[in-house]
């Protein structure tokens, strides 16, 4: 057989294979609707979303780029096509503020949604734009922003990369993973798992339950944590990069062996006062019932920052 014949054979084999697979698996019809538009003359953005994923990314252009993606999946295409129309979004612009909201409008006649519905909003915004987000049951990704950012969310994950402005986050049962945050960060969490990597600037955390892991950068100016029943792990590159004022009621404070002598117990409270150099930025933690651990980074991980 010549080369062309062989190649043709290899083109036909996947056809046949796909045919065979189709018997064992269900075919799902996917209908997707993508809406793209540009928004101009806006200096503030308000986003209210429910059961939708959101991406907000800073860019160097003056206007906003919005992409809304609706997806409906169902074995019956007619159903997917009908139910994709349950999804909508609303954009209002007033006095330089753009407000974006997503909606699920389910008619009375259809008490239940049959398709798998998915909504994704992607926004490209000027880096210094003020953004306020309220979200339930969705994942949020924010990156390359330097303005005033407010996020209030419940459930879902918030993933942050490179935020340099004034950031205010409130989370209920939502997890947070942040890399490279500096400027000013205010974080209020309720039963959230929080990981802050490459943390700099001025940071205030208010945590209730949940877990908190922090890898501070040397450009951290101050870190104040007011926590209740939160498991806290602090991983500085070197212990002596910071001065510490840690208090933990009814639970231990674990520090590297070199500083073990600075941990004291007063009645039911553990205290770690460690001040290697008065010029070093202060880390203050107040916690109760859950362990506080300070780990020095394992040697091989120092460059990685992960």
């Amino acid at each position: 057989m010549n080369t062309f014949g062989k190649n043709l054979l290899w083109l036909l084999i996947p056809l046949w294979a796909l045919n065979g697979l189709a018997v064992a698996q269900t075919k799902v019809q996917v209908v997707s609707k993508t809406i793209e538009r540009e928004i101009t003359d806006v200096n503030r953005l308000v986003i209210n979303i429910n059961k939708a994923d959101l991406v907000v990314k800073g860019w160097s252009k003056p206007g906003l780029g919005l992409t809304v993606r609706f997806v409906a999946k169902h074995p019956d295409r007619a159903i997917a096509e009908r139910e994709i129309d349950y999804l909508s979004y609303d954009l209002r612009t007033k006095n330089g503020t753009a407000e974006i909201t997503n909606r699920y409008t389910i008619p009375q006649s259809a008490s239940k949604v049959q398709s798998v519905l998915k909504v994704t909003l992607e926004l490209l915004v000027p880096q210094r734009m003020a953004v306020a987000i309220t979200s339930s049951f969705g994942d949020i990704r924010l990156s390359d922003l330097a303005g005033e950012i407010g996020v209030k969310y419940e459930f879902g994950n918030l993933i942050i990369n490179s935020l340099f402005g004034k950031t205010n986050i409130e989370s209920d049962y939502g997890d947070l993973e942040a890399t490279n945050v500096s400027g000013r960060l205010m974080l209020k969490t309720e039963k959230s798992n929080v990981l802050l990597r490459g943390l700099g600037g001025t940071v205030n955390l208010l945590c209730h339950y949940g877990k908190l892991t922090i890898r501070p950068n040397t450009d951290l100016l101050s870190l104040l944590i007011d926590a209740t029943r939160t498991e806290i792990v602090l991983v500085p590159r070197r212990l002596d990069d910071f001065s510490y004022d840690l208090r933990n009621a009814y639970a231990d404070i674990r520090v590297p062996d070199t500083a073990r002598e600075s941990v004291h117990k007063v009645v039911s409270k553990y205290i770690f006062d460690y001040d290697p150099n008065p010029n070093k930025p202060l880390i203050r933690i107040d916690n109760s019932y859950s362990l506080i651990t300070i780990q020095s980074l394992p040697f091989g991980d120092i460059m990685g920052g992960k």
Binding site: W10, L11, P14, L18, K27, V28, K33, I35, E38, K112
Partner: protein
């Protein structure tokens, strides 16, 4: 001077030439004319009377809705059988679900063999097929939006929805817990007044409220992945809080 003479002496006045035009242009005259026209039109409008049984029909519809609403509240509630999980477990164990997962052999990317090239052809063929499978519609709307509608086909493992849908809700443990807490609080009022117990109970109430909210959404969106994840989180959190509460109250 008597009056016929006086009349002779009266000055004469002519209306200005454009007097009629000015009167015509006066908006008050226009309003008067429009009003008169409207009256004429109103008189010409046909008369309609509602059907005699209209009120009774409206009344009947309202009564029917009311009856339905009332009937809804009295509908029986159905719970899955308590042994559902055990039965499912048994079915799985007996090998009805025969899906196996096998790791694919990993081939180094640098290895040059004719099979690699064939795979490339096969991949290319699949891509072509996918491209043929999906097709697009473009539409430019008036509000500066570009709308694209696309259709494609995905293959999903069969019977997945049936496996995940409608998790049986076993409330008996919850009822036991509530009874246990109430009993413990009656018997050892001091323990129950501890701030940590009160805090935990408050949390449990909050979690229950959130659980109900999520369950309500789940009835509309069936097994929506985000909602199921939230539900799992709440249930796990409830489990932790419950265990701690029981541990404290048992002492």
């Amino acid at each position: 001077m008597n009056w016929p003479d006086a009349i002779q002496h009266l000055p004469e006045h002519e209306p200005r030439l454009d007097a009629w035009d000015r009167l015509d242009a006066d908006p008050r005259i226009a309003d008067l004319r429009a009003g008169a026209a409207l009256d004429i039109f109103l008189q010409k409008l046909p008369q309609h009377a509602p059907k005699a049984d209209l009120w009774s029909r409206i009344d009947a519809e309202l009564t029917a809705e009311e009856t339905l609403d009332r009937a809804l509240t009295t509908l029986p509630q159905h719970e899955p059988r308590a042994d559902m999980w055990a039965e499912l477990d048994l079915k799985l164990a007996s090998g009805t679900g025969d899906a196996t997962v096998r790791a694919l052999p990993i081939r180094p990317a640098t290895e040059r063999n004719p099979f690699g090239r064939r795979m490339a052809w096969a991949t290319a063929a699949s891509v072509v097929l996918c491209l043929l499978g999906g097709y697009l519609f473009y539409q430019k709307t008036g509000s500066g939006e570009t709308v694209t509608v696309a259709y494609s086909v995905e293959t999903a493992p069969a019977a997945m929805p049936e496996m995940t849908a409608d998790l049986p809700a076993d409330n008996t443990a919850d009822e036991h817990l509530e009874a246990f807490i109430n009993q413990a609080c009656e018997q050892q009022a001091v323990a129950c007044k501890k701030p940590e117990v009160q805090d935990l109970r408050q949390q449990l109430a909050d979690l229950d409220q959130r659980k109900q909210q999520i369950n309500k959404q789940l009835t509309v969106f069936s097994d929506d992945a985000d909602l199921v994840r939230a539900q799992i989180r709440i249930e796990n959190e409830r489990a932790d809080v419950t265990k701690e509460l029981v541990r404290i109250l048992r002492i």
